[in-house]
Structures are given as C-alpha cells and as structure tokens.
Symmetry: C2
Subunit: 354 residues, 2 copies
Amino acid sequence: MTGHKRLTQNDIAKLAGVSQATVSLVLNGAPTALARIPAETRERVQGVIRTTGYVADPIARRMAKGLNRILGVFTYEPAFPSAQADFFTPFLLGIEEEAQQQNYDLLLLTSAGVGNNRKIFSENNRLRIADGCLVLGREFDRKELARLVAEDYPFVAIGRRDDAGGPVPYVGGDYAAGTRQLVEEAVLLGHSKLAYVGPEGTAESIADRWRGFCSALGEGPKLALHVDAVNRPAGEIVDGIVSSGATAAFFIELADAVRVEAAARERGLVVPQDFSMVVLGSHIRAGRSPVRFTSYKIPREEMGRQATAMLVNRIETGSVGSQILLTCETVAGETLGPCPLYPAKKRQSTKRIQ
Amino acid sequence: MTGHKRLTQNDIAKLAGVSQATVSLVLNGAPTALARIPAETRERVQGVIRTTGYVADPIARRMAKGLNRILGVFTYEPAFPSAQADFFTPFLLGIEEEAQQQNYDLLLLTSAGVGNNRKIFSENNRLRIADGCLVLGREFDRKELARLVAEDYPFVAIGRRDDAGGPVPYVGGDYAAGTRQLVEEAVLLGHSKLAYVGPEGTAESIADRWRGFCSALGEGPKLALHVDAVNRPAGEIVDGIVSSGATAAFFIELADAVRVEAAARERGLVVPQDFSMVVLGSHIRAGRSPVRFTSYKIPREEMGRQATAMLVNRIETGSVGSQILLTCETVAGETLGPCPLYPAKKRQSTKRIQ
DNA sequence: CTGTCGTGCTAATACGTATTAGCGTTAATA
DNA sequence: TATTAACGCTAATACGTATTAGCACGACAG
C-alpha cells in the first residue's frame, strides 16, 4: 500500500477534454497519425501533461508494446562483494556507458537464486521483465545457456562460450591469441622449456588459455611442467619449476604468481634473471603487488560496451547476434626476460655486477 | 521483433485442460482458494508448468498486482566510471546484498538524463517501473527531492538530506560527530590552532563536516586557517598552514591531503612531527597512498544495506521512512600526533636524531 | 443530389496476470 | 423429495498503455 495515486492517461484525457487514445497518440503517435491531430489539440494535451507532470507507466507500456528499454544483467556471482568487484566493475562500466548512450536502463538480476547457487530460470524468473539480457560470470550453467539459445531469448554473453545447442552470441577476449603471443615472445627470448601453472577447469576462459599455450608450443618449445596451483604451496611450485628445468612459467592466476615470486625471492632467486614469469590476463588488483608482471590486457570495458551494443541490436532488429573476440594486447611488465641459459654468459656477469 | 513466443498461462491452461484462472490460482492463490482445488488438478497443472518451464511474466504480474519486487537505484553520476566506482561500489555492495536477501532486483536508472545532467524526472521517467527507489549521489537536486517527497513516492536517500518540503527518509553517516570526535582528539593532543582545508559546498555532506568541526571548536581551540583547496597549489597550502601557526590540518578531500603531505615532505617537514593531518572520511583509494592518514570510516556498505531495508519496509508496509545516522568510527592512522609546541622539547630532539 | 475524400477524433481491443463473484454438479441433510 | 452445502472450477474484469479500425462531420467534385 504505497498510497501515492498514479496519474493515468485517462486523467489527462479528462482534463484536456479528449479521449485516452488521443493522449497516447499525442505522446507517441506515428507521424501519420499525429498529422491528423490539429496543433491546437496537441498543445492543449501537452499543456496538461506539463502542468501535471504526467509520465507514462513503463509497465503498462511494456504490456502494450512488448518492449521497455531495459537490459537485464545476470551475474552468476553477486556483482559487488569486494572479491568480485574488481572483476565485474570494469564490465559494468562499459555496459552502463553503452546502455546510457542507447537510452536503456539496467536491471541487475540479483535475487534470482539462493546463495551461491544462482539460476537464470528460477521460480520467479524476472528475466522477462527486460527486453534482453547480458550474462556474465566465470563459469556458466550449460543447460541454462542451452535453454536461452533454444528459446531464442535475446541475450549476449560476456566471454567466449562454446555452442550450447546452437551458437552462443558473445563478446569475449581472445585469450588464446593473447596467450600464444606471450609464449612466442618467450620463445624468441630463448626459452624452450616452459611451465604452466593453473587449473584444468572446464570453463572456456581457462580452456582457451591452455589451447593458446599448446598451439604456440608447436614443434619448438616444450612443456616441462604443468601444475595446478590450487592448494599447492608456493615453495613447492618454485622447486618444481627449478627442478624441471623450465625457464619461463605461465600463470593463470595472478595470486599464484605473486605467491610464487615471493617464494622464489625467499630462495634467493631473481625474476626474470633466474626464470621468467608471465601472467595470462590482466588483473585489477595487480596494482597491489609491487611486481609488474608481464601479461596481457583484457579489454573488459570494451567487452561490456560491445556486448551491450550487440544486445541492443538483437533486440531492436531481431538479428541473431554474433561471436566477437577482442584482442588482448600484451603488457610488457618486467618479469619476462631472456632465457638464462641460452645467451647466458653476458647476462650472468651483468647480474653479478648489479 | 524478438521472435520468441512466450508461454502464457493460457497455454498452460489448455495443456492441462483447465482455465487460465485455475493456473493462476495454482501458482499463487490464497490458501483458502487453493483448498478448493483438489490435489490431483494442482499436480496436473504443476506438471505442465514443470515440463514446459513456464514462468509468469513479471510485467503482466505487476500490471495486475501493482508491485514487481524491483528497487530502482538512481545515481546522479554514472556509477561505474573508475573515478566514481570507488565511491559507489561499497554502497552498491550493501544494496545488492540486502536486496538479494529481501528478494528484490535492482534497476539501475542510468538513462535518465543527458550526459552529466541527470534528472530523476526526465521525459521518460522510468522511476515508476520500480516499486521504490534509492537515491544516491554527492549532491542532490533539491527540487527533485521535494517532488519525490510531495508525491509520496517511496524512496530513501543515501546520505543525510535536509528537509525538502518535508522530512527526507535517509540513511547517512554521522559526519558531524565523526569530525567532532577527531577534532577533540586533536585538542587532547594539545592542538589549539587548527586549519580546515576544503570547499564550502552546499551539499549536506560538506556542511555536516563543517558543522561538526565548528561544534568542537567551542571555547578552546581556534580556527587559524580556512582554505578551499580547489585550484590551490599544495605548496601554497603548506605555507599557509605553517605561517598561520596551525598545528593540525583537517581535510575534506583525501586527494588534497596527499598532495599537501607530499609538498610538506618536499619542504623538509614531517607529519605528524611538524604538524598533524586529519582526513574527514574514509576513501577507498587510500590504499594507493603510502601514508595512512588519520580519519574516520564511513560505513558505506552498512548505509546501503540499511537504506535498502528501509525502502523495502516503506514499500511493503506503507511506512513513511525515517532518518538514520550511522556512526563513523575513527581510524587511528599515523598522521595525528601531539602538538609540536605544547609538549614540544622531547619531540624535537627525537626528530633530530632520526 | 449523391458520392468521395479528408479531418478530427474515439471505441474497441490486445497485452498476461490476479482476483472476485458465481455457476453447475454432486453429496449430505431435513 | 426438496433444500442446502460443499466442491471444483470458470467467466469476467481490472490494471494502463498502444494501436487499429472506423465513426461523424463537412467540403468538394461530379
């Protein structure tokens, strides 16, 4: 019982001495229809609207038109808790920017689900309140995705997604190419025995990095070590790298890289003089670590912007959406250096001098 | 032309061999009404619902019921651009958390306005799509606020607000008390000549700090210097503090404090040995500065949470809302020390030794 | 004078759900 | 057997807007 009585077109109509239909036409009639309403009447109606401050109820509007200029944003994890915030915020920045430009509002689908177990298709599916939906999160529920595809619901995923009973429209980062690029740079610097530190996850983002890594391996360099850093003490990983003979280590998680670098330093090892480190992706919190890791930049804002644009396009033109991968540019950093064994002599001497 | 044909209660009804009304009743009929539908029928209907995956259209629902479990979030500035992100994110975290708990979704009103000139009451006022609205931003449009109050629209402001043709429901931080507390601590440490560095703005948040500052002045300590730091070179401010004889400077903006501290160090001055510095409020980016300033903590998340709870309460019970100020606890920091003149001798010697 | 066309508007309906009043049938009661 | 009560459901309507079809009226042509 909110108590505030809404003004309706009927009220306006009575005040202006016309019918509800006329009010509606004055507000958003097609030019052809508007032409049939004389300026005098139009002005009278608009005068009443102005003085009363009437605005159409978007809900009723949506009922009638089917669209309401609202974009849903579904995240599989809460968007703002600080742990996630740094992950989601850049996306949201891009999304908000583009949405504002296109004059859409954003509906954050937060209540859909219980605790960590969020569902798009929950009991009270609010998805339909929006004209379409952006879906983001590290890992998607394949079934839900498949259902969205099957229903032909207008949505766009942020981040590459495998087909789910049909192609999934997305805007993602080209992690495979980014990763490959970094591996190639390492190879150019003489590295031939590499380490890969990261989980085996089924998520596309993880798989893409691994794929990019492998594709760069080709005939030349070899994978000397492959560890899943989860629950592995950093020291152990350092030992693994050293004993495997790997001279460059690639990390999925910045956090692991930070731990490993610290452990290496504790053992008197210097990066990149003793071995190189590369982080596969940009991480906001990077600023917190004193070390500027070599990595690539994930264009999160741009992903948000383009995904939003694609979604709006889907909604307004009925297009089916497409698959877009944005390139992730290399961030030089200071943890990727020449292979300490290959053109080694000079290096080692300078190292001693320093 | 999105093309995907929605399932409606009518479809379900036909499939289950009942009427649309029955479907609706099965879904959300009052217990008394439900009692009149035999279990067999109910199960048949729910079976169809399950196999088809039908979910009610929230828009139509809202049409019929008047409420849609959506909370609007209106920000006077875009919420995510990095400059603002650190300001808004904590609020949004609290809001999202509470909204999720109460099973409401959030509608970010981003499109309401052009560029920086956002308006709640724009041409296509989307506000009404939500059951109620949270309003946040550093500075509010008084007229719009007054209109919200006058219309009895269910909203809650985040941050204290002056009356606007009636009391404004809000959850704010008690900046006045927080500021007063810090001034008193400074006085206990012997400071008697204070500097106040910050704008004179009309915004409540600014005014409250100034009020708290003044209230602590009372008979004892005196305001030796009052500068608006905007467009003032930091060095000039340092000079002002020194020449005014002030021994403790209070800053509205962290950014100013950072600049001033740097300028002071350049001149060979040490904080807090030579003069103390206090920042009136917590600032996320504080982590970026190497100096841990003495200040107080603004409980932004809690403000978001409580404001959301109050709003939900307003919506669901029709209550009128209230005014809540949350205490801002002091953050010790390392920039507030004893007055260098009062118990001075010892201090100065230690300073020379270092 | 009849027919056609243009003008200025309105009636009617659709959108999908919630909800109330009430209908037809059967079972229980007097 | 007649009356009532309970049961199991449905018809009808409201919500506020957009939109189409078309009415009534006057002007103008033939």
